[in-house]
């Protein structure tokens, strides 16, 4: 019974670690994106020549 409980805890902890790493990886992934720069130019420091 105790062994099953320990295994369950280990599995849950491992699942949480894997989920956290996957979430972190997704947040870190960069990309090339496009926006409507007409809106941006109206903002402070919005960049267009």
């Amino acid at each position: 019974m105790e062994a099953a409980l320990i295994i369950l805890i280990v599995v849950v902890v491992l699942a949480l670690v894997v989920a956290a790493l996957a979430f972190q990886r997704r947040r870190r992934s960069g990309s090339v994106v496009t926006v409507d720069e007409v809106e941006r130019r109206s903002g402070p420091g919005g960049g267009s020549a």
């Binding site: 960069g30 090339v32 496009t34 409507d36 402070p44 420091g45 960049g47």
Partner: protein, 188 residues
């Protein structure tokens, strides 16, 4: 064209460093305004394996240089103002169809080519060539006009743009110049 050409995806992950040598972060997103073919700026993330996104951004006006190994900014003060490079409404710049003025699809965008001058300018796209291109299925560089209107829905190019496709960045600047000169010649 004397400006250094880079692919936008190559800038992702590049360190952002101040002129006195302090790394403030890494490039997370390259934010482009395709309507006027400009670089808006970069969003940042903390360096390191566990570094998450930063609130600070780098608008293009604050960029000192885009080098082969780092993006240089004058000082930490050049970052800040998350509103300056707000990508909350952003769309992915890839997979946008590229069509000619006469409605033929020549491919889909896989990357964006930037000239790192002042101001930085979108000078072309890397596309996966469509079935109507001689190099169908391969990735080629396609020049675009200066200040060419484009959107997140489609990039429209003159049919003659396909005559100036290039395989790699070396020599692509000259192809862009020749393409644009040919358009100016047509207008006269």
């Amino acid at each position: 064209m004397n400006d250094v050409l880079v692919k936008a995806t190559d800038l992702v992950g590049r360190p952002v460093v101040t002129l006195d040598g302090m790394q403030v972060g890494e490039v997370k997103d390259v934010v482009l305004g395709l309507g006027e073919a400009t670089l808006i700026g970069f969003t940042l993330r903390n360096p390191g394996f566990l570094g998450g996104p930063m609130k600070e951004t780098v608008p293009w006006r604050s960029i000192h240089a885009v080098g082969p190994d780092a993006v240089m900014i004058p000082s930490v003060d050049a970052t800040g103002d998350p509103e300056a490079v707000d990508d909350s409404d952003a769309h992915a710049a890839t997979e946008i169809p590229v069509v000619t003025d006469d409605g033929a699809e020549v491919g889909r965008v896989t990357d964006v080519v930037l000239a790192t001058g002042c101001p930085p300018e979108v000078v072309g796209f890397e596309i996966e060539a469509g079935e109507k291109m001689p190099s169908s299925g391969s990735r080629v560089l396609l020049p675009i006009e200066a200040m060419r209107a484009a959107s997140s829905e489609a990039v429209v190019v003159p049919p003659t743009a396909t005559d100036f496709v290039h395989d790699d960045l070396s020599g692509f600047g000259a192809a862009v110049d020749r393409f644009r000169a040919s358009l100016e010649g047509d207008e006269r």
